[in-house]
C-alpha cells in the first residue's frame, strides 16, 4: 500500500454524504418537488432565524444526553435499544413531580430533574437485570420495555392524569409556571438544560478516557470472558453503565416535558432514543464526533419539519437522509476494507477470464 493516500482515499469520507443527498434528491424528484426548493426550505427551517437555531439547540439537548449515555453502554458492549423507554420514563417521573408536588422555587426544578434521572435509571436497570439475571438479550428486553413505557404514558394521559375538562388523549394539562424550566428568549430552549447536556457529555468523556472504571468498561465490551478472568465483575459494571445511561436519557425526557413541551404528551420522546443510537453509530462511537453528529441530526430533523409544513411532504425525509448516511458509512466507511473487497473481486474476475 502506498504511503501517500490516493485522491479517492482522501475524498472517501465525503462520498456517503453525497450519495445520501443523491438518494433523497431522487426521492424528491419522484415526488414532484423541486429538490433545490426543498433543501432551501430545510436550511431555513434549521438556521433561517435565531428562533430556528434555538429550536435546533432545544431539540439537541435530549438527543445529546441520550447519545452521551449510549457511549457508556456501547463501550460495555451493550445494545441499549431500551433508551427510548428510558427517555419516556424520565418524562413521566418529571411530570409526576410537576403535577403532584409544590416546593419552593429553588427546590422544585432540581427535584423534577432528579426524578427524571431516577425514572430513566430504573427502566434501564430493569433491562439490565433482565439481561444479567434473566438471560434476556437487551435488544428484546429493551424493545418490550419501550412499548410498555409508551402504553403507560397513554394510560396516564387518558386516565389518572387527564386534564380536568376531560381526557383529550393528547396530553396532560400544562404544568404550573413554577414547575417549568425558564426558557430563553421566547423559544423552547432552556439554557440550564443545554448546560446540563454539555456537562453530561464532558462527564462521560472524562469517565471513558480518564478513569479506571472506563478502562474496565472497555475491557468488558471488548471481551466479556477475559474481563471476567481479570476480575472485572461484569454484572456490576454492566448494570452501572445501564443505570448511568438511563439516568442521562431520563434527564433528556424530563427536559422534553419541562421545556420543549409544558406537559406530558402522547409521543413525548417521538423516537429521540432511536435517533441517539443512529448518532452514536454514525459517530463510530468516537467522543469528539458525537456532539457534532447530534447537532447535524437535530438541524436536519428540524429542517424537515419545516419542509413538511411548506410542501406537505412527509417529514420522514429527514430520517431517510440521516438513515441512508448512517447505513452507507457503516457499510463503506472503512476505505481499506472496501479496497480489499474490490481488489479481490477484480482478481477473481481476471482469473475467471484467463481460465475461460
Amino acid at each position: 500500500m502506498s504511503a501517500k493516500p490516493s485522491f479517492l482515499q482522501r475524498i472517501w469520507p465525503l462520498l456517503p454524504g453525497l450519495a445520501a443527498l443523491l438518494i433523497t434528491t431522487l426521492l424528491l424528484v419522484v415526488m414532484g418537488t423541486d429538490p433545490i426548493d426543498a433543501y432551501l426550505a430545510m436550511w431555513q427551517g434549521a438556521f433561517g432565524s435565531s428562533a430556528r437555531i434555538y429550536s435546533v439547540l432545544a431539540f439537541l439537548v435530549p438527543l445529546l444526553l441520550a447519545a452521551s449515555g449510549l457511549l457508556l453502554t456501547f463501550k460495555a458492549g451493550l445494545w441499549n435499544i431500551g433508551i427510548e423507554g428510558q427517555i419516556i420514563m424520565g418524562a413521566i417521573a418529571a411530570s409526576w413531580v410537576a403535577l403532584r408536588v409544590q416546593l419552593p422555587a429553588g427546590l422544585q426544578i432540581p427535584l423534577e430533574l432528579l426524578a427524571a434521572m431516577a425514572g430513566g435509571a430504573v427502566w434501564a436497570l430493569l433491562a439490565g437485570v433482565l439481561k444479567t439475571r434473566g438471560g434476556v438479550h437487551e435488544i428484546f428486553g429493551g424493545l418490550a420495555l419501550n412499548n410498555l413505557a409508551i402504553l403507560f404514558t397513554n394510560y396516564l394521559i387518558a386516565g389518572p392524569w387527564q386534564p380536568p375538562e376531560g381526557g383529550s388523549f393528547r396530553g396532560t394539562q400544562p404544568f404550573g409556571a413554577h414547575a417549568l424550566l425558564p426558557l430563553f428568549d421566547n423559544s423552547r430552549l432552556s439554557l440550564l438544560s443545554l448546560a446540563l447536556a454539555v456537562l453530561a457529555f464532558a462527564g462521560v468523556a472524562l469517565l471513558l478516557t480518564n478513569s479506571h472504571w472506563g478502562l474496565r468498561l472497555k475491557a468488558l465490551g471488548q471481551n466479556a470472558r477475559s474481563a471476567f478472568l481479570l476480575g472485572v465483575s461484569s454484572q456490576r459494571e454492566l448494570l452501572l453503565a445501564m443505570a448511568l445511561c438511563g439516568a442521562l436519557a431520563g434527564l433528556g425526557g424530563g427536559v422534553r416535558v419541562l421545556s420543549w413541551f409544558d406537559s406530558l404528551r402522547q409521543s413525548i420522546s417521538g423516537g429521540i432514543g432511536y435517533l441517539a443510537l443512529m448518532v452514536v453509530l454514525l459517530a463510530g462511537f468516537r467522543l469528539v464526533l458525537t456532539p457534532l453528529v447530534a447537532f447535524f441530526f437535530s438541524a436536519v430533523l428540524n429542517g424537515s419539519i419545516t419542509l413538511q409544513l411548506r410542501t406537505q411532504l412527509h417529514s420522514a425525509l429527514g430520517d431517510i437522509l440521516t438513515g441512508v448516511l448512517v447505513l452507507l458509512v457503516l457499510l463503506f466507511g472503512n476505505y481499506t476494507r472496501v479496497q480489499r473487497v474490490v481488489l479481490r473481486a477484480a482478481q477473481a474476475a481476471r482469473r475467471r477470464l484467463s481460465d475461460g
Binding site: 433482565l130 438471560g135 418490550a144 457503516l330 457499510l331 476494507r337
Partner: protein, 324 residues
C-alpha cells in the same frame, strides 16, 4: 360462547398468525445459516407498502407478492453483503435498516394511505373444509394461510431431513468445519439470508393484501420485533416458531375478548399483553431461569418440559468466516 363462535375465533387466530409464521420461517432459515437479519421490522413495513402498491397499480396479486419479496430480499442482501463481504456488524446494519425501512415506508406511502385495494380472496379447500372442527379453522381460509402452513412443513423437512438443509445448518453451527469439507459457506449464507429475506417480504404483503388489508403509516410496526423474539422462543425451529406465532395470535384474540367482557379495565392493560409476554417467554427459554424451574418440576415432566423450553442459537450466529 357456543362452539361455532369458538371455532370462528380459532380460525381468526390462524389467519392473524399467518404472516408472522411466514416471517418467522424466513428469519429461522437465515439465522440457521448464521446471518441475523435484524432489519425485519422495517423490511416488513416497506414490503407491506410495496406489495400493496404493486398489486394496486398492476391489478395482479402475484406481482404484489413478488414486489414485496424483492424488497425483503434486497434488505437481506444488504445485511449479508455488509457482514459477509465488508465484515461489519450485522446487528448495527440490521438496526439501521429497520429504522430506514420505517421512514421510507412513511414517506413513500403517504399518498397510498387508506386506499381501497385488492386482497387475496378466500378459497375453501374441497373435502378438507368438511372435516369437523379442523376444517373451518384451517381450511376455510385464503391462500396466505395455506402457504404459511405448508411453509412450516417444507422448512422443517428441508432443514432437518435433507442434505442441503444439513449443509445450511453446518454453515451456521460449524462454518470452519463445513468449509474444510468443501461447503461454500459464504455462498450458502448469501443464498439463505436472501431467501429468508424474500419470505419476510412476502409476510409484509400477507399483511397488506390479506390480514390487514391496505396501507397506513406504521401499518405493521412492532410485528418485526415480535417475529424476531418468536424465532428465539421457537428455538430456531420452524414448527416451534409457528406454535409461538399461534400462541401470540391467541393471546391477542383473548385480549380482544376479555376487553369486550371487562370494558372497565383500561385498554392499555390488554395492549401491554404481547410485550409482557415477550419478556416472560424470553425469560423462560433463556435457561438462566428455566434451569432452576426444571429442577423443581416432577421427574416425569422434566424431559418434555426441557425439550419444550430449550433453545440454543446456532453456534456461529452473526460471526463472519474468513474463507481465504
Amino acid at each position: 360462547m357456543d362452539s361455532t363462535q369458538l371455532i370462528a375465533i380459532l380460525g381468526s387466530i390462524v389467519l392473524q398468525a399467518a404472516p408472522l409464521i411466514i416471517a418467522v420461517c424466513g428469519e429461522t432459515i437465515s439465522e440457521r445459516a448464521g446471518v441475523i437479519n435484524l432489519s425485519m421490522d422495517g423490511s416488513l413495513l416497506l414490503s407491506a407498502l410495496a406489495g400493496f402498491v404493486a398489486a394496486l397499480l398492476t391489478g395482479s396479486l402475484l406481482l404484489g407478492f413478488l414486489a414485496a419479496a424483492a424488497v425483503g430480499a434486497l434488505f437481506a442482501a444488504i445485511v449479508a453483503f455488509g457482514s459477509l463481504h465488508l465484515r461489519q456488524n450485522q446487528v448495527a446494519i440490521g438496526f439501521v435498516l429497520a429504522m430506514l425501512g420505517d421512514s421510507l415506508s412513511a414517506f413513500l406511502g403517504q399518498s397510498y394511505t387508506r386506499l381501497p385495494g385488492p386482497s387475496v380472496p378466500s378459497w375453501h379447500i374441497p373435502l378438507l373444509k368438511d372435516i369437523p372442527v379442523l376444517g373451518p379453522i384451517f381450511f376455510r381460509q385464503d391462500a396466505v394461510v395455506y402457504f404459511a402452513l405448508l411453509l412450516v412443513l417444507v422448512t422443517w423437512w428441508f432443514l432437518f431431513r435433507t442434505r442441503a438443509g444439513l449443509e445450511l445448518r453446518s454453515a451456521g453451527e460449524r462454518p470452519e468445519a463445513a468449509f474444510s469439507r468443501g461447503v461454500a459457506v459464504r455462498k450458502l449464507r448469501y443464498l439463505y439470508a436472501i431467501l429468508g429475506g424474500a419470505l419476510v417480504g412476502m409476510a409484509g404483503a400477507a399483511y397488506s393484501l390479506s390480514v390487514k388489508i391496505g396501507w397506513a403509516e406504521g401499518h405493521t410496526r412492532g410485528m418485526g420485533w415480535i417475529a424476531l423474539a418468536i424465532v428465539i422462543f421457537g428455538g430456531w425451529s420452524p414448527v416451534r416458531g409457528a406454535i409461538g406465532a399461534l400462541l401470540f395470535g391467541a393471546t391477542k384474540a383473548l385480549a380482544t375478548l376479555l376487553q369486550r367482557s371487562f370494558p372497565q379495565v383500561a385498554l392499555v392493560a390488554f395492549n401491554a399483553i404481547p410485550w409482557l409476554l415477550m419478556i416472560v417467554v424470553l425469560l423462560l427459554v433463556s435457561g438462566k431461569l428455566a434451569a432452576p424451574l426444571l429442577a423443581r418440576a416432577p421427574a416425569a415432566l422434566r424431559r418434555p418440559l426441557r425439550s419444550l423450553l430449550q433453545a440454543a442459537p446456532p453456534a456461529a450466529l452473526g460471526q463472519p468466516l474468513d474463507e481465504s
